[in-house]
Symmetry: C2
């Protein structure tokens, strides 16, 4: 039952801990005189010492008896200490760096453990990719606890991914010492309707005594939600209203209030825990996805705590929501989530409980960050060749590849046709279906940049099958140039949007050449390029560097006339058939409300 996340199992060091607590043996480390955020009783205890040995907490109180000549004494007077922050649901890949670099970026912000659903990398590279990421993460002190991706592909039958995960894969990974559960079961419709595959995946997880994590994104908090919870799902990070969050807590579902780059739900949800009228043990805080520039500039779990308190959540309650509540959700509270004897010595030193400025971070009793800087060394990780050469498009991509032919049986009227266009909105990852009239020239349907109608193409890029989907998007507001991205949820195929076929071809080829990334191209020139060679979705540089590159990218978009914040993010979600209303995959346009392919031409 031991997992990979503690320095030593308790049963191998319990006697040593008893010796230290009792003063018969000196501690390795003693933290002196802190204001202890006690998440067990929701109190702040002044003047607390913590004695540590073998990576675990041996004693909490006045620890003079634990100090020997070789004991490292850490003065904590004037600051708060809290249990290491746990992110109850995160896709580390969204921060666009490798797992080791992700750890290096989040640990200084107090994050000592993550419940990580690596479904982005898994869509591209399968379980082998997850293993490679874990190898990378394992070099760092961060406790990277995996929930095996459950929905790969996200919407079977509507897209082509680099891997397919089924119940046998789930069963296999449940034996990994790094796996603590099943990744977010996005196919909530299937679960609610009793579909075989999702239930089989959940069954394998439950049989292994592990936790099924959830994603229930329907406003129906009655029958549908009950059916979902009754199926064995233990937590859910998909709520948009406080009433939804409260309904979930009432059904004993751990309710993860999200504050992510793409979904800033926390302010809308905070009322579920600020009323003072309910027990908040079923509420947690999670990040889900954090883009590299936000990670670098705003932080990680410390930022979520700051936001929680700003939303009126009691600071100690907020700390419980990233420590003991999360540990209890995963039934790992005997190891993690509190500063108490026997637990892993994962401790965050804080300036206060409002800004949550992190002064120092300890994992397994070792200081791993000081004043925002990691103290552990991390060499670049050599991802294997198959992981960094993952863009495989069939044939050559040329301007001609971006022709949208008018079907033989369709007649243009006055040289024009009406097409279904995907309409994007600033700051949203959902889309609308728009009907727009565009020109037909030489038997091909044209873009109309003057009216903000751009061509969009998705090229299958995992097995070079030659599968291509095409359509139109509206709302980006660019007048010239083209953009391409291999970050294109969740299949991460090669997605190209543009005003003209030449720039589109150049953009596509730029990414094919560098192994994936995001690019902005205009008039035959690269305006900005973010190289993401790891699985085509992550950079092999530090988060700070990735953040700069992403800034450059955004600047380039804006230079072309786009006014949307983080437009590459909006673009990256267009292929995700899990989001309403209309999406484009390598197999074509998908109506995401009915889950049917949609014809490009209206009236067809």
């Amino acid at each position: 039952m031991f997992n990979a996340f503690c320095k030593k199992p308790l049963w191998e060091c319990a006697r040593a801990l008893a010796d230290v607590a009792h003063g018969r043996r000196p501690a390795d480390v003693v933290v002196k005189g802190a204001r202890l955020v006690n998440v067990c009783t929701a109190e702040v205890q002044d003047g607390a010492d913590v004695a540590i040995a073998e990576g675990r907490i041996a004693y909490v109180g006045h620890a003079d008896q634990c100090i020997g000549p070789d004991t490292q004494v850490v003065d904590a007077r004037g600051c708060y200490i809290a249990p290491g922050f746990l992110d109850g649901h995160v896709h580390a890949e969204s921060s666009m760096v490798g797992a080791g670099e992700f750890a290096r970026a989040v640990v200084p912000h107090g994050t000592t453990g993550i419940y990580w659903d690596p479904h982005e990398v898994c869509n591209v590279l399968g379980l082998e990719g997850v293993r490679a990421m874990l190898e990378d993460a394992r070099r760092t002190p961060l406790k990277a606890m995996v929930t095996t991706p459950s929905c790969v592909p996200a919407v079977p039958g509507f897209e082509d991914t680099g891997a397919v995960i089924g119940p046998e894969d789930i069963a296999e990974t449940m034996a990994w010492d790094t796996v603590v559960g099943l990744g977010e079961m996005m196919n909530f419709v299937g679960v609610v309707n009793g579909a075989e595959q999702p239930h089989a995946e959940m069954a394998e997880t439950l049989k292994a005594g592990k936790v099924v994590t959830g994603h229930y994104a329907s406003p129906d908090v009655d029958r549908g939600l009950n059916a979902y919870v009754a199926s064995g799902v233990r937590c859910c990070r998909e709520s948009t209203r406080a009433e939804e969050a409260l309904a979930k807590m009432r059904l004993g579902l751990y309710t993860q209030l999200r504050f992510s780059s793409a979904g800033r739900d926390l302010p809308q949800l905070a009322a579920a825990v600020t009323s003072g009228a309910v027990d908040t043990r079923f509420a947690c805080l999670v990040t889900d996805d954090v883009h590299p520039h936000e990670l670098v500039e705003d932080g990680h779990m410390d930022r979520v705590l700051r936001e929680a308190v700003r939303c009126g959540i009691d600071p100690v309650t907020a700390v419980q929501m990233v420590t003991i509540n999360t540990a209890q959700c995963f039934q790992m509270d005997h190891e993690l989530g509190s500063i108490a004897p026997g637990k892993c010595a994962d401790i965050v030193f804080l300036e206060d409980l409002r800004d949550f400025r992190v002064l120092r971070v300890m994992i397994d009793g070792v200081v791993v960050a000081e004043e925002g800087v990691p103290t552990f060394r991390l060499e670049a990780f050599a991802y294997p060749e198959w992981a960094v050469r993952s863009v495989h498009v069939r044939g050559e991509v040329t301007p001609a590849s971006f022709t949208v032919p008018l079907p033989d049986d369709v007649q243009a009227r006055d040289g024009r046709v009406t097409v279904r266009a995907i309409e994007v909105a600033p700051g949203s990852i959902s889309t609308k279906e728009a009907h727009v009239e565009v020109e037909v020239r030489d038997g091909a349907i044209q873009a109309d940049p003057a009216h903000d109608v751009l061509k969009a193409f998705v090229f299958e890029r995992h097995r070079a099958t030659g599968q291509v989907g095409c359509g139109f998007v509206r709302g980006f507001g660019i007048q010239r140039g083209a953009m391409a991205s291999t970050v294109a949820h969740d299949a991460h195929n090669l997605f190209v949007v543009g005003t003209n076929d030449e720039d589109m071809a150049l953009a596509a080829n730029a990414l094919i050449a560098c192994g994936g990334g995001q690019v902005v191209m205009a008039d035959g020139e690269v305006l900005a390029l973010v190289e993401l060679p790891i699985a085509g979705i992550m950079a092999d540089v530090a988060a700070e560097e990735a953040s700069c590159a992403v800034h450059e990218l955004e600047r380039a978009w804006h230079e072309l006339g786009c006014a949307i914040p983080a437009p590459f993010m909006t673009m990256a979600f267009i292929p995700l058939a899990r989001l309403p209303e209309l999406c484009l995959t390598d197999r074509g346009l998908v109506d995401c409300t009915t889950f049917r392919f949609a014809p490009l031409l209206v009236g067809e």
Copy 2:
């Protein structure tokens, strides 16, 4: 990972539950219109329906869609429903009936699950005895979840028991589907001092991913308590002051506030949870030991709840303390402890949240008690011959067996000597050491009933070794007759106390003849006899009948001049070397503060 306590594992019925929740399949049972005690959010929700299928909860809300022609609809308007009560720590044997009868007695009081440390039967019959008890329990709907006894014998080297439990036995039982953890680790001194055997037992439990339950009975809530908790103990039912209880909660130790027949600690402890200043998730309520007459007359967990509310604990908080908190303590909250989708349909129907009168009890969706009466049939259980013939004393017990010879090297002074006597006090299970002068006649030390000094003898009765310990007791206040008991903690040897050797011999022989029990004898006549043939500590009759017999026994004690309430209980704890101050085992007098044998004669 499935345990023996649910009708069906969730993964085998999740799809059926989803069907029911969604209204595609009728429920087996629908509870209509209840006031739901929601222990997840600590709220009372009015007008709640609960739909049940496959023994589990499928839906909570307005369940009309779940009702089909064959659905059993249970009208719950006007009453409260709460999750089935869990007793977080109990020795069922203390109720002096077999496990099946115990279930029959407690289930109508709302107790649907017990965390049972069967260390009484284990001291007599070993793990085979535990297995037999489990066979008996398994015939009932009560969820009898075992924690394997850790301290058998209670004080090694000072007493002879019928069995000895070591780390290998612990390891073996951790594979049983009925075992959820390790029984109360009473050897807290050994744990704190890093002794090998208790740590080895705990290690086997932790390796199996199960829970170590505790018994920390020292006022040292600093170093000793920290050492104990750091060793991996998860709960403790041994607190006598609110500050102790709070100190334990602060260290993340589940703190079990006890209200037992022998230890009514709850009123002294309630302040730990009534302040409103602390999170109470680490507080639970337990019974520990309930004597049969109290069980029959006052109830079980319903009685503890009543007492908790009387002590000022908020009723919903109190219900949490016997449901979700206990389930979380044992990391079984995914199965038990809340009325939420997916959980076992263990539901108590209550008249109110003050008197906690139990109207109806449901386990796994089946009504198992109505208005205090079990609705399940239970035939007498045939315990095997070795279990009901467990009293094996060497040779014949005669009046001469009760001679206390003056040692050859001791001279009486004026025909008198000073002995160490065990002084008992009303309503206490602890003793004091008294020094009293008694007469020596014909080379033998005499009792002195006129001054309330009685002889006391403990005969080894498991393997007929002939080991006998003798001493004197003071404080029972009887003038004539004798008492014997094979309920004599924890070794349960044959314990005899009396004013004269003839009645003592008759009392001993009465119990040898009937396979064990408790008897009061005077002037050669049996005044009262409680036959306890199962392991010599439990009756093979219903709890009501056992209760009557125990009443008769008490009446007989009082007839002989004893004024102590439940004196047979006071007597039964005299051989327990775990309690201060002086005790008598089959090996002799033990000083329980220093753990040394004590000479009978003072100054020797």
